[in-house]
Symmetry: C2
Subunit: 256 residues, 2 copies
Amino acid sequence: MNFMRRPLIFVTNDDSYRSRGIKLLVEIMLKFGDVILVAPTTQQSGKSHSITVHDPLRYHKIVEQDNYSAYVCSGTPVDCVKIGFNILMKDRKPDLLVSGINHGSNASINTIYSGTMAAVFEGCAENIPSIGFSLDCHSAEADFNHCIEAIEKITKNVLENGLDEGVCLNVNFPEKELKGIKVCHQAKAYWNEDFVERKDPMGHSYYWLTGVYYCKDDDKSADYNVLSDGYAAITPMQVDFTAYKVIDRYKTRFEK
Amino acid sequence: MNFMRRPLIFVTNDDSYRSRGIKLLVEIMLKFGDVILVAPTTQQSGKSHSITVHDPLRYHKIVEQDNYSAYVCSGTPVDCVKIGFNILMKDRKPDLLVSGINHGSNASINTIYSGTMAAVFEGCAENIPSIGFSLDCHSAEADFNHCIEAIEKITKNVLENGLDEGVCLNVNFPEKELKGIKVCHQAKAYWNEDFVERKDPMGHSYYWLTGVYYCKDDDKSADYNVLSDGYAAITPMQVDFTAYKVIDRYKTRFEK
């Protein structure tokens, strides 16, 4: 891409506008272009591609500077993206959407639950080059300094060369120190859930969802394993979920 | 599969346990096996793969019969599946998970927003053969009679032959009359959103998300077009979102 003017970069996340990760992401993106942030007012982890259709939405401007404006939205990450595209950036589409930096890995099966990655898929479906950045550490005080150089490198590359239509990037960083960058595939993994039972003051049961993560993928180029080895894992992802490899066989099975 | 005993079939949806679609789906599934229904208490359309992590969940049994029991759950469709797998079916995993029949199409990009299909992806990630059934009509009074024969045929086929690991089915029916069944791919499409502004009694703005659907896929074997032509559209889908076609090129771009 050749930019006649500074690129316009859309920043969002699912941890809310107050998280350390999004504040740092804004700082980095301001080196590359003008930034509009639209982020959830409250924590939206695990909201996936949820949209708010049975309740109204609200948004408010919280920062207005020459090259940076920020809004908070009452909804989910995908609501934030839709308000960004359809109200706040109606007259000029962004050149790039970045989501994160998430406090917690979105490698392997986590991508399907992730609000961070849902925002990225939404940008991708709207044909905007979109990248999700996540750190393999859930702490609110997480240190992201070792990721900055790689984020800048990836961002520069995507601003200059774009991404294939229908393809976005899911980038995950190890908690500490970075050995390098590897392009990989989504690991086969699952959560083994447990529900912790509690009793309310009336004696009725309620349950908290908890779980333990299992990776069942031995492949060294699976994102979870790349991350465990200390590399930044870039998994290119697509919004077309069709299982093309079975289509011909399933025609024979189901069309007769 | 050879069943020494009647198959156990897990039924869920996103329209809530009171919808016509799920009631019919239970009736159909009882012809094939024993049924456990776990469905949301309230409408959960557009909730995608959202899980409830910051609030507790509750569930209650509402039906107990010899070969059919039903539960309602305060959470999302994926919460229902997790409660089903980890509490109610802890000792015997289901042989099949079916979700729907949804009041409204989940073809093309709709699959990413859909609670119906999220339940199916969750079943698939847990290695249970999983099928989503949806009707291209949003009416609460929708007529599903023309779909019954095809649902029975597809269900029988999947119970007998299973599905490939990591693959599930997204089945969409036209509103009326069925010309046949076609296996297809997810159509390239998007929603052009609009936000309708209203004022609250204090004079502050709030917004309702609305939108118009656009299909930009001319391919006759795209699910949206197959459905528009009057056929049931079976789109095999996968929980691995990796864009394999770009991996080698992106290695060159990002690993250097």
